[in-house]
Amino acid sequence: MTRLRELLFPLVAVLCAFAVGGVVVLLVGDSPLEVYKLLLGSAFSWPDGIGYTLFFATPLIFTGLAVAVALRGGLLNIGAEGQLYVAAFATAWVGIKLTGLPSLLLVPLCCLAAIGAGATWGAIPGLLKARFGSHEVINTIMLNFIAVALVGYLTQYDYRIPGDPIMESAPIGDNAHLARLGRFVPGLPERIPLNLAFLLALVASWLVYVLLWKTKWGYEIRATGQSPGAAEYGGISIRKEIVLTMAISGALAGMVGINEVLGYRYRYYDGFSDNYGFTGIAVALLGRNHPAGVLLAALLFAVLQRGGVPVDAFTQLVSKDIVQILQALVILFVAAEAMFRRKGWGRGKGASGTR
């Protein structure tokens, strides 16, 4: 029964979000059916629809996993956005500095840079919480802004090609490129930026599953998340777990840099993230903080993102921003989970009755 609810509840939340989103579309003066047909329909054509949808899903899988791991450890990582910016810049930095290395060495080094930078930026709020008890939510929010400013500064003053009007770094070396899947998959043109990072995202999902449910580390993370007091009593160092969890979370968010820099733009492009870090929160919540759920949720949001393009082009009034509205509604409905239990309404009514 609870198993069924785990599966059913996200579906209900999504349907509710679509219903309210439909009302918005209706108020604006378009047909919800038409809009949803465009939103959901364009993702499944081959090769463009599927190729782009999987490409859009890649960063969301990483950030969704990042938020999910943190939540399993009892921490709310609002800082994936900052972590992925720092990581993407570090990826490009290695790709620019070490162009001489052979591909087999350079690509892993760049990936390590992404993971390491993300883990470091994620560990900072972990350390602050472990050492000073300051709340990770505020610190990760603040570190997002600091990351954007820091990386913006480095791009503008140190790594931009002089005279380039765009805020982007110099290109990384050819040896640092990650192959696009079009090279291996017949019928998938290489202009579609879907690349090996997508497979990495699948591997990362599996690894997160193994880590959380098959290892001692994962057990300790989950124990800390579920009941810090009991975990500490059981001999787990809460402080260590906080730092470790945030570092793993940051590392996962940082892997967005691999997809973006090594597989897509081949340089650091300032402001590239389309709110991936925040969408990751929606992905993790909808996916019930489970890697399999995260994959499905990331795919759903990627489908919507892909569908935003035809909505912009073919509807009279509604713009692709409807996607952001749907995302926000999903977050709100998932957060208000109690709404879907009878107890949720019952208590509210009962309480007002006694007032």
């Binding site: 929010i141 603040m142 919540l285 509604l329 977050i331």
Partner: protein, 326 residues
């Protein structure tokens, strides 16, 4: 500053630190004060308010759109505060009745108002993202437009009426918080809801009031951005101000006057950044990197939270839903 001599440098410093810097500080701090004081009501009642950014955007968009149709900034301002209250009410229901994680729900509201104004403005004005320009004489007035003053006093009356109102609101908030029964209840509900409940205070009702008030004030802060400082709404025009307001609230230790001072400090940092651009050069002849000044509010917040500059203690029950039966 190249080979700049001392006199030249002093002249440059004079260019930056002028009376206009004071006004620039006030202008930039005004929306922060409104939002931060709004956040104070919510957080002092025990409900985390990450949604200030979204509430400000709701106010900014509503103010610009309504003023465009109604041709009166005051109608626009009223509409903005109602919109802020309505959105905050939704947040309150999700957080208080359904006991949602307040940070998650706030994030949802923030994302909602990245998208909703764009869709609405697309439908209303056929331009996704921004509203049409409001004519100059229909913007929120400065004091000089309300009170006729001799030219030599212009310097004092050149601030927006909303800035002066912000000062009044800070004073009122101090009074309400520390000198009225409502303030006492608000604080007790945020510190120790069980005790408040035992004393006969309706915890949830007070919290609803706190969150809705935060929407009203943050909405007005947003309105000041779109129909005071600027003359139209543009996509994501708050650009993180809601979070800076949150930072100021923490830096100000959740107290009204200190919070206002923190807003002024952050506004000052912003004003200096703007005035320095293109005027001051580093010794090496490059522009001073504005990014480092932009970081100040955020760094200060982290340092304050870590307890390096005095203790900043959050309300005792901040972020803890209150369930009477539990």
């Amino acid at each position: 500053m190249g080979k700049g001599e001392r006199g030249e440098r002093d002249a440059l410093m004079g260019d930056i630190f002028t009376i206009s810097l004071v006004f620039s500080t006030i202008r930039l701090a005004t929306p922060l004060v409104w939002a931060a004081i709004g956040g104070l009501y919510s957080e002092r009642s025990g409900v985390v308010n990450i949604a200030l950014e979204g509430l400000m955007l709701a106010g900014a968009f509503t103010a610009a759109a309504v003023t465009f149709y109604a041709h009166s900034p005051w109608v626009g301002l009223a509409a903005a505060s109602i919109a802020g209250a309505a959105v905050a009410f939704v947040l309150a229901v999700v957080c208080i009745r359904f006991e949602a994680n307040e940070v998650v729900a706030g994030t949802g509201i923030n994302i909602l108002f990245l998208g909703l104004p764009a869709v609405l403005s697309g439908a209303l004005f056929l331009s996704s993202g921004s509203t049409p320009q409001v004519p100059r004489d229909e913007l929120l007035p400065t004091l000089s437009q309300i009170i006729p003053a001799a030219p030599q006093w212009r310097i004092l009356t050149d601030v927006s009426a909303i800035s002066l109102l912000a000062l009044v609101v800070v004073g009122c908030t101090w009074y309400v918080l520390y000198r009225t029964p409502f303030g006492l209840r608000l604080r007790s509900v945020g510190e120790n809801p069980e005790a408040a409940d035992a004393a006969g205070i309706r915890v949830q009702r007070i919290r609803y009031a706190g969150v809705v008030l935060s929407g009203v004030l943050a909405g007005i802060g947003g309105a000041y951005l779109s129909i005071g400082q600027s003359s139209l709404f543009t996509r994501n025009m708050t650009a993180g101000r809601g979070f800076i307001a949150l930072a100021a609230l923490i830096f100000g230790k959740w107290r009204p006057v200190q919070t206002m001072l923190a807003c002024l400090l952050f506004g000052f940092a912003d004003a200096v950044t703007i005035q320095m651009q293109g005027v001051v050069k580093m010794p090496s002849g490059e522009d001073v990197p504005v990014q480092f000044i932009q970081m100040i509010p955020y760094l200060v917040t982290i340092i304050v939270l870590a307890g390096f500059i005095g203790q900043s203690r959050a309300p005792g029950a901040l972020g803890v839903p209150y369930d009477k039966e539990a």
